[in-house]
Symmetry: C2
Subunit: 275 residues, 2 copies
Amino acid sequence: MNFKEKLLRTADINKSWLCVGLDPDMGKLPETLPKSIDGISQFLKEVIDATKDIVCAYKPNSAFYEQFGVDGISLLKDIIDYIPKKIPVILDAKRGDIGNSSRMYAVSAFEHLNVDALTVNPYMGYDCVKPFLDYKDKGVFILCLTSNPSAADFQKRLVNDDSKAAKMIYELVAEKALSWNDNDNCGLVVGATSPSELSEIRKSIGDDIPILIPGVGAQGGDLEASLKAGGNSNGQLAIINVSRSVLYPSNKDDFADKSRERAMELVAQMRALLF
Amino acid sequence: MNFKEKLLRTADINKSWLCVGLDPDMGKLPETLPKSIDGISQFLKEVIDATKDIVCAYKPNSAFYEQFGVDGISLLKDIIDYIPKKIPVILDAKRGDIGNSSRMYAVSAFEHLNVDALTVNPYMGYDCVKPFLDYKDKGVFILCLTSNPSAADFQKRLVNDDSKAAKMIYELVAEKALSWNDNDNCGLVVGATSPSELSEIRKSIGDDIPILIPGVGAQGGDLEASLKAGGNSNGQLAIINVSRSVLYPSNKDDFADKSRERAMELVAQMRALLF
C-alpha cells in the first residue's frame, strides 16, 4: 500500500483529516513529567495513545528532535516506531540538496526512520526532489506557499513566463509538482493563513495531490476555510496539521485527556463538514 | 572571534581558499579500511590530518551522515570534534523552517554540533533565516545559485519588480542577503558551474560577504575562473569546496597521501594566483 492509499484509508476509518504535529517543547511539558528526553517520550506517547483513533496522520518536525543532539534523533526514531503502523507518519524536515545528497536524505527518512512521507524544499529544482519521488510508495510534500509572514520574500514574486500569463513562484512550484507526479506520490505544503491562494492551488492541481496545511490554531488559520479551500472535489486530501494547540492545552496530569478533547473539537468540525 | 575572522585567519595562515567537503561514501572507502562507521571515522580523520595545514575550512554534508541513522549523527559529532579548533567548520545541511523551528535547527548546529557556519535555504524568506543570523559569531551561507542542472527551475526565473530592472530569483536572494547582513555573518552559496553569474553576484554584494563555491572537480567547475569570479577585490572570501576528488583519489592504503597531493595541486594553483 502506498502513502496516499494509507492516508486515505486512515482518514476514512478515523473520519478525520487532522494531522497532529509531534513537536516536543521541553518548556511546555506537563509539570508532572520530568524535563528530560524520557519525559518527552512519555508525553508524546500518551498524546499518541489519546489521539490515534481520531487522526489521519502524525507529523513530527525534525528540528524539534535535532535540538537535543544525538539523543533527539534516538527519540525521534523511538516515537516514529511507537506510532501504530496503520497511521501514516509525515516527517517534516524540509530537506533538499543536489541529487547525490538528496538520495542520502531519502535513505535517512525512508529507510532508517521508515516514515511514510517527507517534506522537501523545492528551491534547488527537480533533480533535488527526484531522489525522494523515486521512492514510489512514499509521499513527498513539496513546500509551496508557507504560513510565515516572510513567505512573500520569494514565494510570492511574480515571474515572467514568455509563453503564458505571469505567475508567482509558488504557483510555478504547484505546476511543477503536478508535472513531477508520475508516481502519484507528490504532495504540497500550503499554509492555512492563505485560504484564497489555497483554493486557487487546489483548482490548479486537480483532485489527486494531497495538500499538507499547517497554520490552523497557534498561527491563526481557520479550520473550516482551510478544509473547503484545500479539499478536492470529494472533500479529501486537505491534511490539517495542528501542533501546539493540541499538544499543550494543559500542563497538569490531565494533559492527554485535554489533548484528545482539543483534537476532538477540531475533528467534530471536520465531521460536520465532510463525513 | 567570529566566523569570518576565523575563516580569514585560517586562509591567511594556510595560504589557501580550499574547503574540503567531508562527505563519507562507504562504497568508496579505501579497501584497507573496514566498511563500517569506524572505518569511515578512521578514513576522515586521516584525511583531516593530511590536509589541515592547507585548507581554509572543512565542510561536512549532513546528508552523508544522516544516511547512517543515529550512528551517523554520532559520527558527525565525532568528526567535527576532531577538526582542530582553529579551522572553521561549515555544516552543509541546507536547513530552513518557520522561525520557531529554525531556532531549533540553529541550536542543533551551533550549540550541539558546535560548528562555525551552516548552509540554509532561503525559500521561506527572512523570518526563517533570521534565527540563524541571530548567532552573531556564526556564519550563515544562504543558497543563492546552486551547481545542479535544475537550479534553473526556480532560481533562474525572471522576477517582475515594479521599481527596478527585472532580476532573477537568485539575484534577489543575493540582494536580500546583503540587506540581512547586520551582524556581518551572511554568506552565499554559488556554484562553480556558473562563473559569469558568480562574477555578477560578487559585484552586486561587494567585498564583505564570503561565497561558498561548490562544483569544482567532480561537477566540472573551473578553479581559476571560480577564484577570479568569486573573490573580492583583495582576492579573498571565495571558498572553493572540493569533496570527491580530494577524498577519493586512491582506494589503497596511500589514500591520505594521495588526498594531500590532490589538495596541494589545487592549493598550488590558488597560491600562484592569490598569495
